[in-house]
Structures are given as C-alpha cells and as structure tokens.
C-alpha cells in the first residue's frame, strides 16, 4: 500500500513537471496566431460593413489602416517568438531532452534517497498502543500514590524503620516525576542516620546531587555504593547505568565497574593507582587467579564461585567464567539474572554467524524458560533452531524478538535479514 502511494506520488510529480514542458513548445506560436486570427476577423467585418454601406468608405479605410497597424505592432512585439518558432535553436533541443531526463532522474533520485533514508520494515507506532508497553502489568500499576500510601502506612507502625523511611523518600521522588524533593531528602537523611549503609538512601541522595548540579559528588557517592554492594545486588545494573549517564552528561570519563572484582584493600588500591594500565590489568588478573586457586580449596562456596565467574566474565575470560557459573549452578540453581550472565559468557565465545554449541543451548533454554522474552535467549536459540533445520521455531523466536526490539535497535536490520533468509 505504502509502495503504491510512493509510486503514485512520483508519477504525479513527474507529470506536473512534464505537462508544461510539453505544452510550452506548442503554445509558443499560439499567441501570435490567435492575435492574427482576431485581426483577420476584424478586417473581414470592416469589409462587410463597407459592402453593406453601413460604414462610409473613408471610415472603413481608416479602420483598416488601424487594424493593419496593430498587426504590425503584434508582429514586432513577438520577434523572438517568430524566430524560435521558425528556426530551431539550442533552447528547442533542451526542450527535446529535458522531459525524458526529468522523467528518469526524479524517480531515480527518489529511489536513491528512500533506499538511504527509508526503512520499509519499521513497524508502525500508533499512539494508542504505546502506554501498554510502559505498563506491562495493567492490573497492578505501581503508581506513586500507592507507594506513598504504603510507605506512610509502614511509618505509622514503625516511625524509625530506615527501610520504610527510604521507601517514603522513593515514593516522594516518584511523585515528583523523578526529582528528589526536599521532603524526600529529609526522609533519606533520617534513614541514613538510622542505618548508614542504606543503599536506596545513598542512591537517591546521589541522584539529588546530580540533579542539583554536583555531578562529582553524586558519582563519588555512587561509586562508593557500587564498591560496597554485593556482586549480585539487584540494583547494580541500574546504578551502573546511572553512573554512566551522569558521567556523560557532566562530560566526565565513565568510571569502570567496581564490584565485579574481588575488593582489594586500601593499600592495594593505592599501590594500583601508581601502576601503568597494563600492569594494573596484570595485578587484577593476579588477584582473580588467587581467588580461582582459593576456590579449589573451598568448592562448596557458591557465592565465591559466582564472584569468580563474574570476575572472569568482566576480564573477558568467558570459558573460565562458564565453568565457574556451572560450579555455582551445581550447588544451587542460578537465578534469572545470573543465568543471563552465564548465557552471555557462553555466547561471547561463539564465532559470528555460527550456531551456539549444545552446552550454550542448555543454558539458553533454561533462561528462555525463566524469562520467555529474554532477547539473548530468543536470538541465539533462534540461531540454534535454524541450524538444526527447525525453521518454524527459528522464525517464531526471531519474530518475537523483532517485535520486542525498539524501533532504533542496531541489530534490527541484521535480524530482519536472517528472518528473510529463513522464510
């Protein structure tokens, strides 16, 4: 349908340009011819009137002379016209070539621009359907009002509960569309006085510092929070995203993720500050290897395996990370977030375009079961299905993924190509 309209539009444009061009050569002599015809009629009428006797001979002669003078004037006024009409010049060759040239160039230009800029596969984003994506669970909207009421109810029971105080601050912030307000700051400060390491209070106070124009203080606070957070803390991903966002907005370098590494002591940290980047990398690697060696002595330490797996993953040692995740998983099944990391460590080892190996597929399938809309699982399991000849399953997964992707996701084009190849 869209293509039809585009074609129609191009045709109309070309037509609008061509019609006057084709007509111009025809009209060129028309005007003079028309004038002459009128004068001819007038002369005939004068002659008729003279023959009838209604006009005296002398008046008829004067009228004829007048008309003849006008004929001469009209011919003089259009000397160019007569010239061009009688002798073809360069302008008429132009007129011969311009219409076909335009008829070809305009559609070609339109096509070229469209192929460069246009995105025919882009799904429509009608206004009415968007809010539904923002609230995946319409039955239980987490409105600021409800959170606020919950926090106030909790505080009424236990006025000195730091968790409830932080929840109140959070609700107040949400109520103000994400601006950390003065009453919220008060709640967070009270919460910190009761529990100095409350992560939520630190996070939002940092956010306030960022909003009030002190990005450096915010980043310092957040990095301290990140360093103190356990490696599987649920807020880490968001915290890192915020650190990156605020650093970028303030024009500061984005600090590297902190708590993925085993935490070195202050002396070790200071010693590392003085090292060159390669040496520092070496020192970090040495510490992770130390952890790896220690894990051999305490193979039942699940948190230790997870920390090691995460460290290897961050260092890019994906094969070692995969093994460490498997050890932790054997002690107790991993949660969805860690499953994602495990699967990521698996798929990073895959050559581009190659299907995932059976071990990776097993992890990805568990991930898909835990989280049916996980993009990583959908993409690579689709590739596995495609490789094993199950094109229907591959298409189902990739199409689901395509529908989930934001309109400007960079892998969209590649995914569309794969879907086309599978069809």
């Amino acid at each position: 349908m869209l293509e039809f309209f585009l074609a129609l539009l191009t045709t109309v444009t070309v037509g609008a340009l061509l019609v006057p061009l084709l007509r111009a050569s025809a009209r060129r002599t028309e005007r003079l011819d028309g004038e002459l015809a009128i004068y001819r009629d007038q002369l005939a009428e004068i002659e008729r009137a003279r023959a009838d006797g209604t006009t005296p001979e002398s008046e008829a002669a004067a009228a004829r002379i007048e008309v003849e003078r006008r004929i001469l004037a009209a011919a003089n006024a259009a000397p160019e016209k007569i010239e061009t009409a009688s002798a073809p010049t360069e302008s008429s060759t132009l007129h011969r070539f311009l219409p076909p040239a335009l008829a070809l160039l305009i559609p070609l230009l339109a096509l070229g621009v469209y192929l460069n800029v246009g995105r025919p596969g882009l799904p429509a984003a009608p206004f009415g359907t968007r809010p539904a994506m923002d609230h995946p669970n319409p039955n239980e909207p987490m409105t600021a009002e409800r959170l606020l009421a919950q926090a106030r109810a909790r505080l009424a029971e236990a006025p000195n509960d730091p968790d409830a105080l932080s929840a109140l601050g959070e609700a107040l912030t949400l109520e103000a569309d994400g601006t950390v307000t003065a009453p919220a700051i008060e709640a967070f400060n009270k919460s910190l006085a009761l529990r100095p390491d409350d992560a939520r209070a630190h996070y939002y106070l940092g956010l306030h510092e960022a909003q009030s124009g002190d990005s450096r203080a915010a980043l310092e606070r957040w990095q301290a929070l990140e360093a103190k957070s356990p490696p599987d803390a649920p807020w880490l991903a968001m915290l890192r995203a915020e650190i990156a966002r605020v650093s970028k907005a303030a024009g500061l370098p984005v600090p590297p993720a902190q708590s993925a590494m085993p935490q070195p002591s202050r002396e070790q940290q200071e010693a590392m500050q003085n090292l060159a980047p390669e040496q520092r990398q070496q020192a970090i690697r040495g510490m992770v290897e130390g952890l790896d060696a220690r894990m051999k002595d305490s193979p039942d330490d699940r948190a230790g395996w997870l920390r090691l797996a995460n460290a290897w993953r961050v260092l890019g040692e994906n094969a070692k990370a995969v093994d460490a995740y498997a050890r932790a998983d054997a002690l107790a099944p991993l949660d969805t977030r860690t499953l994602t990391d495990w699967a990521e460590a698996h798929v990073r080892q895959i050559a581009p375009g190659a299907p995932p190996p059976p071990a990776a597929v097993a992890v990805l399938e568990r991930l898909e079961k835990a989280e049916p809309r996980n993009a990583l699982a959908l993409f690579y399991l689709g590739a596995a299905s495609f490789a094993s000849g199950d094109k229907a399953a591959a298409l189902r997964r990739w199409r689901t993924l395509l529908a989930l992707l934001p309109a400007d996701a960079p892998i969209r084009a590649m995914l569309e190509e794969r879907i086309k190849a599978a069809e």
Partner: protein
C-alpha cells in the same frame, strides 16, 4: 530582454535567504536566544504581593541590599521548572544564595502546594498572578532567571531552565564575585 531579468529576482531572493540560513547555522549563533535588553541596566520594578500568606509584599528594596540576588520566575505547571528546582535548592542551602521566586501566572494555592511538595528554596516569594511584573521584566515564559548584583543592576538573564553548567560556570562565580 528586461522582462527576463525580472525572472531572476525570485532566484536571487532564494539565494539571499539560503545564504542567511547557512550563516545562521554555521556562525554558531543560538537561534533560540533572543537576547535581553536588561543586562547591564537597573532591574525593572519589582512590586508583587507575597506568595506565602502573612508575608509583606516584595519591593525594589530587596534588589538593592548590597548583596547579589537571584530572581527566578517559575510556575507549578511548568515542567522545566521542576528540572531546575534542585539546583535552586542547592544554591539556597549550600551556597546561601538569596533567591527571589516569583510564581508567574500561577494560582498561589497551586504554587504553594508545589513548593510544599518539592521544598522551598526561595527566601522571598511573590505571586504575579496576572503576569504584569513578568511583562515589566521582559519575560518570554517560565522559567527565566536573572542575576542581579547588590546595586540592583541585572548582570545575567537566563531564558529557560538553568543547568549544572550555568550554576558552576556562571552563577557560583557571580555570587562570589559580587559579594
């Protein structure tokens, strides 16, 4: 032949306009900036009734105390005002700046509720319900912020919300320098 020259006229106009647009784009001029005639001149008359109940109305005397003041026009219905609000909170609390807030075309009850919810950084707050004072101050909308030195001369006029950069690079040096 002269008639033909006439047809060049629209082309000439087009070329002139294209030249102007190219210059506007490339000269680094901010097309959104409409400048301000107030900078370097005495601040316009400040005469508004107080926003908070029981306070005396705001007068010109507040701008000639010998200490610099920040005059901020805001409204509870204005989203950019929400974004710049924490910056004023910080300026008031940490830098001890004198900030005069004027709620522009805003019902006092709504403006007060807004300040109660967000916190009130304004040492003096006025209510310009009709927008007359805003007219005197050459306001194009809210938020707008004026830096007024101790002698009542406008030193800087921000149209639109102030940002972290404005605070660090302009407002803080102004507060220190004018003291």
């Amino acid at each position: 032949m002269n008639r033909r020259l006439l047809f060049i006229l629209p082309l000439l106009t087009l070329a002139l306009m294209a030249g102007f647009f190219a210059w506007s784009l490339l000269a680094g001029r901010d097309p959104a900036s409409i400048g301000s005639v107030l900078v370097g001149r005495p601040a316009p008359r400040l005469e508004v009734k107080a926003l908070r109940e029981g306070e005396p109305p705001l007068t010109d005397a507040l701008l000639k105390t010998g200490k610099p003041a920040i005059v901020n026009f805001f409204a509870s219905w204005c989203t950019p005002c929400l974004a710049e609000h924490p910056l004023f909170t910080r300026l008031a609390q940490r830098e001890g700046a004198v900030i005069i807030g004027v709620a522009w075309k805003n019902k006092p009850a709504e403006a007060n509720a807004w300040l109660k919810r967000l916190g009130d950084p304004y040492k003096f707050a006025g209510a310009d319900v009709e927008g007359r004072t805003g007219l005197d101050w050459g306001l194009s909308g809210v938020p707008e912020t004026y830096l007024v030195d101790g002698q009542g001369i406008v030193r800087r006029h921000f149209r639109g919300p102030i940002t972290e950069r404005d605070v660090n690079e302009t407002i803080l040096p102004f507060l220190k320098g004018a003291k």
